[in-house]
Assembly symmetry: C2
Homo-oligomer: 265 residues x 2
């Protein structure tokens, strides 16, 4: 798997900004009972891990990621907080080193979008989940982005990101598929709720934290690969990014939606 956003420092800062802005919207209704065991899949640099572990201080988390470098950084981040309820482990979602039905809950955030076989991944996760346990899946959907002023150049820049992710085997439009994927994987009581981020200039913290530093920064981050892949040219791509920044002005509006699904085995 190629992680389309790369692993450099700026990307890590972007993930932290994103996590900071969106924590309440995405995670405020996730808490695990004392003593329960939770597998966090694809923890990356630990942006969500920190939130999870703080919100459920008496649950035990096992957080895995395929990247050793990300695991090292996540471990460092948690070590600095005094939290003791997280164990990190480098592991591949398609080759999990855990016994069947060994976790009470599974948590998967911003992971399925990068997988070419998300349904198979869910089936594997179902295997390590005990009967009656829950799975939580959170994904974005880049097709949910629209804005004012509208701009075909900005849409084209976003489309570059969608296409790069597709070529890397992923699916940047997977948010709308969280429901059918969980149903198809055989989970019960599937309930999906959209988490829409609505940004206008009356919400300056979102203008900065989401439109600028999360979404537009993410699009900017694929400038070189998009040009190298022949999906765009510098002039058109930069015009699209400028138009995304244009939506952060006083009369601008930006909309994006995440989808959170919770289901039971």
């Amino acid at each position: 798997m190629t992680y389309v956003h790369g692993y450099d420092t700026r990307e890590n800062e972007r993930l932290e900004d994103q996590a900071g802005t969106l924590v309440d919207l995405l995670h405020s209704d996730t808490a695990y009972p004392p003593g329960s065991t939770v597998l966090e899949v694809g923890c990356g640099v630990g942006a969500q891990t920190l939130t999870l572990a703080r919100r459920s201080p008496d649950a035990g988390f096992t957080s895995i990621d395929v990247s050793a470098a990300s695991i090292a950084e996540a471990r460092q981040k948690i070590d600095g907080t005094g939290l003791t309820n997280v164990e990190f482990q480098q592991a591949d979602i398609f080759a999990l080193p855990f016994d069947a039905e060994s976790f009470d809950h599974v948590f998967v955030c911003f992971v399925l979008e990068h997988l070419s076989r998300p349904l198979q991944a869910l089936a594997i996760l179902k295997g390590v989940l005990r009967p009656g346990g829950t799975i939580t899946v959170i994904e974005g959907d880049h097709g949910s982005a629209y804005f004012y002023p509208d701009s075909s150049a900005a849409q084209a820049a976003i489309d570059c990101l969608v296409e790069l992710q597709r070529r890397a085997g992923g699916n940047a439009l997977i948010g709308r598929q969280v429901f059918p994927l969980l149903v198809e994987a055989g989970f019960e009581a599937v309930r999906v709720s959209p988490r829409m981020v609505y940004v206008d200039s009356s919400r300056p913290e979102l203008v900065d934290g989401f439109t600028r530093k999360t979404f537009t920064a993410m699009v900017e981050g694929i400038r070189e690969p998009a040009i190298a892949a022949g999906l765009t040219d510098p002039e058109r791509f930069d015009a699209g990014v400028r138009d995304l920044y244009r939506t952060t002005e006083r009369d601008g509006v930006f909309c994006y939606t995440f989808f959170k699904g919770v289901a039971r085995k």
Copy 2:
């Protein structure tokens, strides 16, 4: 102004289905104090009027529409309920028969999308609103529609509706502009909240009431004018409608967002 959806019986049924399904999502946070006077602009056949008058039984509503036929139907609808706090009047938003600053509140729902000069309309409404009074604006945005399975034919059918509305002088993408329009019209304390309709098969009442009977019925309703205008051909349009219905199956998902703005003079 040409009302793009027409005035026939089926359209009226569609508006009633729509109002029934969406009442809580759109209106549950709208209530006016006893004794206050409210101007409802573009009441149509009274779908929203009924909800407004029931939720604020001690406020007095003046509900206007440019169509005498719609006013007659709205009056009949309210007469059947025993509500006595609504007066209907045929009137044009651009030639209001009211004194300056004569209403405590103004309510405008699904109206600005049909006007070629929405900003001027807001300025006129500001004129009849007393200082300190509120305006509430609710609009949809057809650019907020996305679904699973995705379909270019379905998107093209929706685009026909957007284009017809544009040619009729309106703007089917106006929802995202509620904030900038209210700010530009000089209102204070503008606060816009999105009202997203998320539909999957775990919510059968929305599958039927929204995806089928509201949104897809609306798109189907412009089949003849869209073909007559050369925007599509029967085969392609019908394929798009079929694909919209496809989203109502067990694994389908449909998303649409309304925008509700409240501001003060």
